[in-house]
Symmetry: C2
Subunit: 308 residues, 2 copies
């Protein structure tokens, strides 16, 4: 059991990597065969087409995370409640029935994580492995970690376990305002370039303490009075949204935040957190492989043993 096929199977993407005994990435593959495009019963076939040759190498087992473990996925992997650490997750793997997996392959799915605040539940699937990976790479057991995106996840780690987390729909709110709101009539195409001055101005305005429902209107009025150029609007709006996200987080006394995500988002979060004098450590997608590898280390004899 020296080789691990680590898979992050999300709603719209399927990514895999072969890891050596020490966790080193030996090879990687990515495709657009996300969970949403796969019919019930069709997962085994997609898996074989993408990764069958890798699994045929003796001594290879596979650990998956992401929406593949949701109710609409291959097999449902029940949520692991917070606080959740590597041991908690490793003890709750859901094995793919060897009669369903081709050639009796040893494949298991990592559970998502759930928590509750004020009587309201929250969930994540797939982000938890990146959190564990970043902790392992940093060698720390306390951290505040954000995974920016359509639905950002903010995790607070204590004693090596995810103590709590929150989902913030910031990326989706930005897209809604860009594409469907009254602002979309005047906003130019977003070419992805960052106007740093406009972005910083948006962050600063958001920090002044109003709701995004109020600050978003300033995109319109600043333009109306000739105080914001059309080309700067997307960066300014991005600053308003990320600024609101940070304003509403309990970050007082937090000296450092770990940001896991694509470089373009990591840069924006670094700038915005800088306005609150918070240092940033960044990781990319490699954190996912490290997290799956760290979980697999907890089940050295194969996943069947620790499965439900």
């Amino acid at each position: 059991m020296s080789r691990l096929l680590a898979i992050d199977w999300g709603s719209s993407a399927l990514r895999g990597a072969v890891l050596g005994d020490d966790g080193a990435v030996l090879d990687e593959r990515a495709s657009t065969r996300g969970m949403l495009g796969i019919e019930p019963g069709g997962f085994a076939e997609v898996f074989e087409a993408q990764f069958g040759d890798w699994m045929d190498v003796p001594g290879t087992r596979c650990l998956m995370a992401g929406m593949v473990g949701s109710k609409q996925g291959w097999v449902e992997a029940a949520y692991c409640p917070c606080p959740a650490g590597l041991d908690d997750v490793a003890a709750r793997l859901t094995r793919i029935d060897p009669g369903v997996a081709a050639k009796g392959r040893d494949i298991a799915i990592v559970p998502g994580i759930s928590c509750e605040h004020d009587g309201v539940p929250d969930v994540m699937r797939g982000e938890e492995i990146k959190v564990f990976g970043a902790l392992d790479l940093l060698g720390v057991d306390r951290a505040v970690i954000v995974l920016p995106g359509t639905h950002s996840k903010w995790a607070t780690v204590e004693a090596g376990r995810i103590a709590s987390f929150s989902t913030v729909m910031s990326g989706e709110f930005y897209a809604l305002l860009r594409q469907h709101s009254i602002l979309s009539r005047t906003l130019p195409e977003d070419d992805g370039a960052l106007d740093t001055a406009a972005f910083d101005r948006g962050v600063a305005h958001a920090f002044e303490g109003h709701s995004l429902m109020q600050t978003a209107f300033s995109v319109r009025t600043l333009a109306l009075f000739g105080r914001l150029t059309a080309v700067a609007m997307p960066s300014y709006l991005s600053g308003l949204v990320i600024g609101e996200e940070l304003r509403c987080r309990p970050l007082d006394g937090v000296g450092e935040v770990v940001v896991i995500g694509a470089p373009v988002l990591a840069e924006r979060f670094s700038r915005a957190l800088g306005q609150r004098r918070i240092r940033v450590r960044t990781f990319g997608e490699e954190a996912a492989w490290r997290g799956l590898w760290a979980i697999a280390q907890r089940q050295p004899a194969g996943f069947a043993k620790g499965s439900t």
Copy 2:
């Protein structure tokens, strides 16, 4: 000059009323000929078709408010800066050139109002006449007034003048989440009925202090865990949005809020403000006619005199 034709000409609707010398409404008309559907140069023709017979009665003059005074309207009426009261507005009417208006009619447009907070401007056009109307009907010169809607307007009135105001895009955010967000996949059609328990629950959750970007996700997770029925979702989401709107307003120490708007929205704001132990007085669209009448009283000799 004993008859006033009062007109509220907005983006998507055109409403008019004939008022007697004492402000009593003698007759009303409404149409869908809002400003957005009218070509430049086409306003006089629409006006005549809708109201020409009323204006033909000797001694009738006309005062208009709303987007008809915007850059894309009939004639641009420059914004009146805050603080703005009846006298300020009455002194800044923009008269329609008698050569453009048919038969040399006496027609003027009320200016919109502007203000500025933290270097960010805000504007309203049309809501200010309802604020003035409500003040006149109440006989007060201090108030906190909200006009709920796609873009809610919150006005603080001191010494009879609008001291400041803010625009909150709450109605638009609700519509974006209903129609275009990930929540739209699971939200049933909104039949307009209010599930008061679900609404109150949403308001209470919003008051706990998170951003709508975070609380909106609870619609999804509560449903995922079977703690919110599908039919209750629209009311719960409405409570989250209106609760966020109220949470971000400086309402500490405010004992009463005047709500001007349609009964269905006024009811929701009354319920939500009730959770903060704030009393509510409500007015409907009649406030617009009263406001225009009160402005006209400041120019008894006809609008030409006070026009720019």
